[in-house]
Each structure stands twice: as structure tokens, then as C-alpha cells.
Amino acid sequence: MNVVLPITLRSTERRRLIWNWVGLLPFFAFILFFFIIPSFNLFTGAFLNRSGAFTLENVAVFRNPNVIRAYLTSLQVSFLTAALGGAFGFFVAYSVTIGGAPRWMRSVIMTFSGLAANFGGVPLAFAFIATLGRTGFLTALLKSICLPGPQGEQVCPFNPYDYGFNLYSLGGLVLAYLYFQFPLMVLTITPAIEGLRREWREAADSLGASGLQYWRDVALPVLTPSILGAALLLFSNSFGAYATAQALTGGNIPLVTIFIGQQIRGDVLGNPHEGYALALGMVIIMAITIAAYGVLQRQTSRWIRA
């Protein structure tokens, strides 16, 4: 259609188009100055040596055993909290939507999911220390009651810390992260579960399918992209987290974020440019995760649109 327009009109059109973008200039200027340039500086820094020349040598940071350990630990924590939080959150969302949990339970859980998914940082670590720390509320409670020990004998008191539990460890960190992870799953997956149409269930029932068959052949295949997408969201949510781990373990668990923090404070790698490469690696993993989430999300929205 543009082809048939007179040239004069096209140039005013173009001027109008440029003018349309002008209103967005303050936003772009702010973002460029305080977000794009700082990020860009970090990324270019990853490919420069000390004298400022281009190099790929900084990638050698990924052969540093401490860095490898940090990445593996971060991936492990993120994977565990995404899998556990995802599964738990899914069952909870199922229960309060089509599972038949009481209505009051639904409103309590949905409200608290919205709150808990936003709760994190230092206070979350404090809450878990006060609850499951060595002298915490639940630890004290467990110590005062009798529970069967690993060989089946009665143990009074039962101190979880005598049986390998330690809040200030990777397992404890996973427990703390789950506090915001599973509610996020509940919030993300609920619309998808609500999008399952009643007719599908009725059709499956009228064809003689069992509940198990309905879930295996109809509901789960429909929900799979949503579940995977939500799990990716949880993964990235935990991968970038710093404050809870720092406050809970004082930096004892070697997460990538903790490692980057140490690098900012004291250049533990002995080469600032390797620090930039370390950070860039994180952003690449985050970008892949979020992009995959976006793709899956788009796929899901086809089903959800009723």
C-alpha cells in the first residue's frame, strides 16, 4: 500500500514516525545511561585484557575449579528448587483449583502465594534461622518430642542436627528458597490448570478413560509447556538470588552470585576481567532460560485462550 503513496506523503509519514519515537527519548536515555552502558561495559570487559586489547583469554576463568564448583552449586540449587518447588506448587495449584479443596483454603493459599513469592532476601534467612536453626523454634520442638531414629529405635529427644540436617548448608538453602519458589509456581501454573476445559474431562470419561488415563493422555500433554515454562521461571528466579544465601550461610555456600560478590569486593580471581567473564556466563544462562520461558509461554497461550 505504501508503494502507491505519493513521495511527499511518505516523507511526512516518515517524519511523523521519527517524531513518534521522540517521546520515548527520556526513557531510552535513562536506560542507556544507567542500564545498557553499565551492562555493556561489563560484557566488553570480559573480552579485554589488562592493557585493553581484545582477547578470549578470560574464558579461561571457566577452567578455574572454584568457578566450576560455583556454577555447579548454583545450577544444582536452582535445579532442585525448580523441580521440588515446581512439583509441590503444581500439586497445591491443582488442589485449590480443580482438586476440590475447600474454598477458604483456596483464598488463603492464593493470597499467601502472592505474598510469599515476593518475600525473600535477608528477612527470609532470619525467619528460617529462627525456625530451623540450631536453637530455632521447630528444632526445639523436635528435640522435645520422641521420634523413630534411623534404626527404628525411639529417640528422645530427636535433634535433626544429629542426623545430618544442617540449615546452613545446601539443603537448608533449598528449604529456604522453596518458601518463595513454590508460591511462584502456584501463581504461574494456576491459570493453565484453570484453562483445562471441562469438556475434555467429560469426553475422556464418556469414552471410558480412567482418571489416570485422562491425566496421562490429555491433561499432562496440554499442561507440559506451561509446567516447563514455569519451572524455567523458578530456575532463573533462584539462579540470580544472592541475599538469602549470603545472610543464611555468610557466603559459605559457593554460589556464582556469592562468588561474584566476593570478586567485586576483593578481586578474589586476581584478574578483574575474569570477573566480567564470570558475570557474563551468568547472564547467558539467564537469557537462555528466560527466552525458553517466553517461547513456552507463547505456546501455552494458544491453549489457555478459551
Partner: protein
């Protein structure tokens, strides 16, 4: 239906109860712990100590002031931007939306690394004085809370008829500034309120920016307290819970009554 409804209901209740336990046990545990500073009795001693610590109030005040500035700057940046995007440049939406979620992709710890690297050396050394560092930290807070603020403003803008309001105001002789200040801003007050509250909660609980830019905010204060004290952190966690949840609870409350309070609607 082959599966008896009662059995499914039982599982639903099991998972629901488990979820509620996960929500409430740490909350209750923290509350209980925070009240046990005096041996053998329940007392508010931990709270009294926290609330009578001048450093608590200093860091609280600092964070609150930064939060208010952040909210103002965010509103001044995002309302005109989203307004313009709705009215004149819908083709910019994919790009602006992408930028608005970038803080999710670039973790805060990486972002602060970039900020320090960029602004702690010439030509633009902002980390030299407290005042310029505060400029930097506000910019950082605006970026970190951008996904929420952008979303809040965008959703708010969708519920009002931007074009009609603008044309009506212009036909009555308003210029762009008057349109924004007297028509768009007042109509967006509920969306802005929810964006502001989430901004407030984010800034009050933020640790990374304040800690690495070495400013006396609430996050670093809490972290320091956690290293040296036992009961006071629990009391602080309860205070922080209350503060965050008050903010988020207000959002839920206001957004529920939002529909009836919009001045115009489609």
C-alpha cells in the same frame, strides 16, 4: 468418573494443608523466637532493642527516603513513556517491553558489578561522594523495580481510554504537559499506587545495591545484625514481613476496589 471424588478431595486437602504449613510454620517460628529473648518468659525485649537502636532508625529513614525518591523518579519516567507508547508509538512496544524485563535476565549482583565498573572511574565518577552515590543508587533502584512499575503503569493505562481523554483535553486547550499532569496522572492514581507500594517494598528490602555501593540502608543493617545477634534478627524479620505484606496487602485491597473507582472506563 472412576476416581471417587472423596479420595481426590483428600489429596487436595493434604497438599493444601502442607502448603499452609509451609507458609505459617516459619512465620510462627520466627514470631515465637523473637519473643523469647528473656529466658523462660515471653517478652517484647528484642523488639524494644531493635526499635531503640538509633542505627535502625537511621537506616530505616535512609531507605524510606530513597524509596520515595525512587517512586517519584519511576513515575516521572514511566508514565510519560507508557502514555506515549499507547498513544503515538505502539510499534515501540516490543522493544520497551523487552527492556522492561531485562532486570530479570541480568541479576542484580551482575548489574551492580556493571554500575561500579562504569561509575567508579572517570569520565563519570559518581561513587566519590555520598550525594552522587545516592543518585546512582536511586537509578539502580529505578532499574531494579522497573519490571513491576512498568507493568503497573501499563495495565493502568490499558484501563483508561488514553486517546479520548487526550483529545478531549486538547480540544479544551490543554498542552501536552497539562494533559499528562491534570488528566493522565490523576486517572492512573490506583495503578501508580500499586506500582509505588511494590517499589517501596523492593527498596526497603534491597540488600545488593546498598551493600556494594556502601550506603547506610536497611538491608546492610539487617545483614550486619544477623551476623552479631540472635533474637533481634527474628524481630526484624517480623517487622520486615509486616512492612512488605502491608504494602502488598494494600495493593490487593486497592486493585480489588479499583474497577469501581476509575474515573473513566472502556
Amino acid at each position: 468418573m472412576n476416581v471417587p471424588p472423596r479420595k481426590r478431595n483428600g489429596w487436595a486437602i493434604f497438599w493444601g494443608v502442607l502448603a499452609m504449613l509451609y507458609f505459617f510454620v516459619p512465620l510462627y517460628g520466627t514470631l515465637d523466637f523473637s519473643l523469647r529473648m528473656k529466658r523462660g518468659e515471653l517478652s517484647l525485649m528484642a523488639y524494644e532493642i531493635v526499635l531503640s537502636d538509633p542505627r535502625f532508625w537511621e537506616s530505616f529513614r535512609y531507605s524510606a527516603v530513597m524509596a520515595v525518591i525512587t517512586i517519584a523518579v519511576s513515575a516521572l519516567i514511566f508514565v510519560p513513556t507508557v502514555y506515549w507508547m499507547h498513544l503515538r508509538a505502539p510499534q515501540a512496544r516490543p522493544l520497551v517491553e523487552l527492556i522492561a524485563i531485562l532486570p530479570f535476565i541480568i541479576p542484580t549482583i551482575v548489574y551492580v558489578f556493571g554500575l561500579i565498573r562504569t561509575f567508579s572511574r572517570p569520565p563519570l565518577q559518581l561513587t566519590l561522594t555520598p550525594l552522587t552515590t545516592d543518585v546512582l543508587i536511586v537509578a539502580g533502584y529505578v532499574v531494579v523495580s522497573m519490571p513491576y512499575m512498568f507493568r503497573a503503569v501499563d495495565i493502568g493505562m490499558r484501563t483508561i481510554d488514553v486517546r479520548t481523554l487526550t483529545e478531549a483535553a486538547q480540544s479544551l486547550g490543554s498542552n501536552w504537559f497539562r494533559v499528562l499532569a491534570d488528566v493522565i496522572f490523576p486517572n492512573l492514581r490506583l495503578a501508580l499506587l500499586s506500582g509505588a507500594l511494590i517499589c517501596f517494598a523492593t527498596v526497603m528490602g534491597e540488600l545488593i545495591l546498598a551493600s556494594f555501593l556502601v550506603r547506610p540502608a536497611l538491608g546492610p543493617y539487617m545483614q550486619l545484625l544477623g551476623l552479631t545477634k540472635a533474637y533481634e534478627p527474628a524481630a526484624l524479620a517480623i517487622i520486615s514481613y509486616a512492612l512488605t505484606w502491608l504494602s502488598l496487602g494494600l495493593i490487593q485491597f486497592f486493585s480489588r476496589s479499583a474497577a469501581s473507582q476509575q474515573l473513566t472506563g472502556r
